[in-house]
Symmetry: C2
Subunit: 331 residues, 2 copies
Amino acid sequence: MNKAHLTFDLEAPGMNTGQLVVPGGADFEAISLPVFSLNKGEGPSLLITGGCHGDELEGPIVAHRLIEWLPAAQTCGRIIILPVLNPLAVRAWSRNTPEDGLNLNRVFPGRADGSVTERIADGVSRLLLQPVDIVFDLHSFGPTWDCAPSSLTHPIANADLMARTFRMAEAFKLPVTLLWESHDTAGMFDTWAQSQGKVFVGTEFGGGSVGSDNLAIYETGVRNALIALGLVDGKAESPTCHQRKPCQTLETLSSDLIKSPARGIFEPRCSVLEEVQKGDLIGVLHSMDSISADLIKFHAPSSSIVYGIRSGLHVDANEALIRLARPLAGC
Amino acid sequence: MNKAHLTFDLEAPGMNTGQLVVPGGADFEAISLPVFSLNKGEGPSLLITGGCHGDELEGPIVAHRLIEWLPAAQTCGRIIILPVLNPLAVRAWSRNTPEDGLNLNRVFPGRADGSVTERIADGVSRLLLQPVDIVFDLHSFGPTWDCAPSSLTHPIANADLMARTFRMAEAFKLPVTLLWESHDTAGMFDTWAQSQGKVFVGTEFGGGSVGSDNLAIYETGVRNALIALGLVDGKAESPTCHQRKPCQTLETLSSDLIKSPARGIFEPRCSVLEEVQKGDLIGVLHSMDSISADLIKFHAPSSSIVYGIRSGLHVDANEALIRLARPLAGC
C-alpha cells in the first residue's frame, strides 16, 4: 500500500514549497495538496490549515495571504501552511467530500487504507501535525450563517493544555474568544491534536459572502497570534466587527442553540454581536404553505449576545437557526 | 387537461388570501402557491413577486413583511403578492428547479402542458400578471455574490415604456438604480411582462447571507416605490449601504463583466459600491495546484463603480467574478 508522503523535506531550512501526496484508493485517485514551509530555526513550530470544509473559503484565502507576507516577516521558528485540507470539497463548494460523503472534521486521525477523506486525515495527522507544537485551523460558518469573527476551543480535560489553548485563542484579539461546549467532538481535528498534546485553536471567520473587508479582519487576527508567539515582529491590533466592541470572551452552551420547530422560511430579526434581552423577538418563521398561517416567533430565552445567526432561507424542522452566547464566567 | 387556477376571487374587494394551484403533470404533482391580495378599489394595480430563484430569499421575506404591514397602510388600488414563485427551488436552496433543471426566469410565458417550471410560469402569466399594470419582481444575487441593493431594468425598445419603467425604478430610492445591458433575456419574466405593456421593475437585493440590517434596506426600497405610486401614504427614505452615498444611477454593459481565465480560489480585493480607478487591483486568483504558481491578478479596466463582486470561493474558467458599472450618461 502506498502511504501519504511529502515531495520535499520539511526539516530543510528556509522557505520550501511542495505537495502532500495522498495516495489513491479504490474510490478515488491520488491527490496532491500544496504545502508551504518556512523554517527559521529555533522557536515555536506552527501548522496553519484552511479549507477543511469546502464552503468555508476564508481560511484558504487568509492562508494564501500569509504565504505572500511571511517570507519578509517571519523572524524565527517554523510555520507550515496547508491552505486547503480538502480540495475535493472546495471544488464542489460543499461541506463534506462529495466522493465519499464524509466530513473531514469527523474522521481524524484518519486511516491510510480508508476512503479518500480518511486518507487525507491520515496524511495530515502523520506528516504535518506530528512535527508541530501548535495548530491554527481556519474555519468559518459557511454561506448560510453570519457569525462573529472568533477564535475558539472546546473544553479540554487537561487543565494545563486548556489554559495554554485559551491564552493562545485570546491572542488573536478577534471580536470574540469563545469557549464552545459541544458533545459532537469525536473525530474532530482539534480533539485528535489535543490528544497528542498540541495547542490547537480553531477560528470561525464569519460566514455569508467572503468579502475583502472581513478578510482583512481575519488576517489581522492571525497576524496578532503570530506576534504573540514571537514568530513575527509587530504590534497587535484589535479589529472591530459590525461597529461593536472588540475582544469579548464568551461561552456558548449546547442549550444556547435555537432550532426550528417546523419547516418554513426563516427571517433573522437580530444581528451578530447584538445584545438581546430575555423575550426580545430575534427571528420569525414564515410558512410556505399558507399566507394566513400564524408566524412562528423566536424570542430570546435569556439575556444573551448573538454569536451566530442563520441567513434567511428555507429550513426544515429541527434545523439550527440562532446560536447565542454569554460572557464567560471569570473573564 | 387541468389548467392553473386560483382558489379565490382576485376581483373581490378587501383582503383575500388563497392559492394559485399549478396542476400536476407527468413530472410532478400539483403545487399550491400562497397568494395575498388587497383590493382597495381605484388606483394602480401591482403584482409583487419573490422567490423566482430558490437561493434568493430576500424577496420572499420582504414580501411577507409587506403582507404584515399593508392591511393597515394601503389606501387605494390593488396589490397582489406572491411571496414565492418557485417553492421547489426555494426548498432546495437552488437557483433552478431541481425537478426539471429549468430556470423559471427563462421560460416565460410558460406552457400549460410543459414541465413543472413551465406550468408555474403559465399560471403566473395568465392569472396574476394579466390583471395588473405594474410588477415588482424581487431578486438578489444569491449566496456567492455581494451586490449593491438596486432596482433595475434592461433596455426596452418601446421608448415610452422604457421611460415609465426607469422612473418607477428610481422611485425605490435604493443605493443604485441600474440600466443593465443583457443579451440573455429570452424567456425572462420582465421581457414577457414588458411585451404585454406592463411596467416591470426588478430588484437585486444584495447577496451573501440574508441579514436583518439589509432586509430593512430592501423593505424601505419597496415602501418608497409604493409611496410613489400613491398606494400608501408616507415620505420616502433613502437608505445607504456600506456607508456610501445613496441613490446613484448607473449603467452596466455586457463588457463590464470580468470573468476568470482559469480555475482557482477567487479572492475579492474590492467592495460593493467602491469607486475604483483604471489599473487598481480588484481581485486575485489563487491556484489550488501549487503554492509557487503565480497569482492571477485582476485590474480595473477603467474608472468604475463596483456593482457586484463574487464571494471568495473556488471558480472554474470562464465563471463571472466582478460586475462593474458606471454613471448612466445624462443622469
